[in-house]
């Protein structure tokens, strides 16, 4: 469960202040499949980064599974990200020098999982996304849809309680995007992992159980 209380984030560009998100209070329950929608610049990425402990809010408090993480030091935050949260990016963000299975294995190294267990879990999640045949390929040899599946496997492998996806379909054609969302939804239903994703695609957002709309950094309905 994630709880945001009166979260604001300001950016300072010289003397001007940009209110990327303002005064957001929201609770996301375990197992939700939630879409964050809104036009470009409305604050979706900023909010996802705050929920994902990548950025700290300017004011307000954030609680993850009952733990207040607002003022946690950098290294502890990194550990929380490594153990509890999975990330999927618009641009896939696989490491180009590593193979598919090495990319998927990476978070397990951060968690300190031993070798045999790492191999077992990498195999399992690659099977889950249907890419076991591509385990020794480099990301550059894969299509966009396949790369995003590798990213899903990487987000999934560490058994997080929550996976965040910032516009996961924006760099994919519509059909591939729907496949990716369907896969995420299936994992959400089967494994009970919370998913929060952002999109501005009407059809994509219709798969969500809950839609939260942002406008100029504020919640517009809920």
């Amino acid at each position: 469960m994630v709880t945001l209380e009166e979260i604001s984030k300001n950016y300072y560009l010289g003397s001007t202040v940009v209110n990327a998100v303002s005064d957001i209070s929201i609770t996301v329950n375990d197992g939700e499949f939630m879409a964050l929608v809104g036009p470009s610049g409305s604050g979706k990425s900023t909010l996802l980064n705050i929920i994902g402990c990548i950025e700290k809010p300017t004011s307000g408090r954030i609680t993850l599974d009952g733990t207040d993480v607002t003022d946690v030091p950098t290294d502890r935050l990194a550990d929380i990200r490594a153990r509890r949260i999975g990330y999927i990016f618009q641009t896939f963000n696989l490491l180009p020098v590593l193979t598919v299975s090495e990319n998927v294995e990476y978070p397990l190294h951060l968690q300190g999982v031993d070798k045999a267990e790492r191999r077992r879990r990498v195999e399992k999640v690659l099977h889950e996304v249907g890419l076991e045949r591509f385990s020794t390929h480099k990301p550059a040899e894969l299509s966009g849809g396949q790369r995003q599946r590798v990213a899903i496997a990487r987000a999934l492998v560490g058994s997080p309680s929550m996976i965040l996806a910032d516009e996961p379909t924006a760099n994919l054609d519509h059909k591939t995007g729907m496949d990716i969302l369907t896969k995420m939804k299936e994992l959400n239903q089967r494994l009970g992992i919370t998913f929060i994703f952002s999109t501005h695609d009407q059809k994509i957002m219709s798969i969500a159980d809950r839609i939260v709309e942002l406008r100029d950094g504020r919640l517009s309905n809920n």
Partner: protein, 406 residues
Amino acid sequence: MFLRLALRNVFRNRVRSLITLAAIAFGSTSLIIAGGFIEDTFIQLRESYIHSFLGHLQIYKKGFYEKGGARPFDYMMTDHEEITREIYSVEGVRQVTPRLEFSGLLSTGETTISFIGQGVDPEGERQISSFVQLDKGENLASGDKYHVILGKGLAHGIMADVGDPVILVANTMGGSINGLDVVVKGIFFTSSKAYDDRALRVPIKTAQRLLRTDEIQSLVVLLDDTAKTDLVKERLERIFEERGHDLEIIPWYEMADFYNKTVDLYKRQFFVLKLIIGIIVVLSIFNTMNMSVLERIGEVGTIMAIGTRRSGVVRLFLLEGIILGFFGGILGLVGGYVLASIISYIGIPMPPPPGATIYWTAAIRIVPGVFAFSFALALVTALFSSVYPAYKACRLEIAEALRHNV
């Protein structure tokens, strides 16, 4: 995992990495060549001094080395035959030979000039005077009694040639004046022109006759290996103390002033060279590492977002630097070894050192210490120049860095 990632990152941009490796390798190869050349110069210079007149150790009556210059006859050795036997009993001693130094006037009847003379045992001197080169005539031999060999400059000064009769005039030990007719048997030169201008050599028996004495001044000891100098010196000191001899032992390096100054100068120059090479390596790796951080801001953002700590990012970039240093260093060692062997095979013709007359051939020595140093330098400078890029990478704002992914 970090190692694998670092290795692949290093070699993802082949051309740039190869250029960087070449710069590092060039650096350590030049160090090896320069260091090996300097070492060779040291050794050749050292051996030249030892074999031309110094020997490894010189043994005097205590006090001679400091005060003997003014009153040499106050510090003569009487029981030198017994001492010689004792010295020969020490392992590593190859040759012991007596010397008697004196000064006087050399005359042809028409011209008279002052000289510094050495009374030597022609047989014993053969290996300690290997750099006393005969220019004309012949060297002294063990049977010679009334013969002299003259330094080239001295011979020139009195216009004497081989076969000419000359007169040696000197103060005897008793204080009177004595003269001796001798024949010029040869003319020699050494690596010191200044010495050749004043020096002559006679058999030690001849010198003793001239000075009316049967004592000597010094015993020169030649060892089978220069590295044993200190060891043999200590042994001899112990023996002399046990036997109650009042002697002092001067090792070659205390006498070879020019050698010490040369070593000092070369070492300083070598230090500057090390510094320059270090800077070249630092700059080239720094540039590479800096560019690779700039190119990989998005990737750094990604690995930090999925939970890599800042220390992990630092480790990754330092590791990449070390890998560059390691492979560059290895390349440098191999390059240095091969190049050193080739150059040594061909040989470097060298002009005579200042004040000397002999041309010599330098080589590049394979010095393990220099190899270790240049490899360490490659590693350390590589590590050092990765510090700032690594720091920069780990300080990136994650959200900002993620925006570099396109």
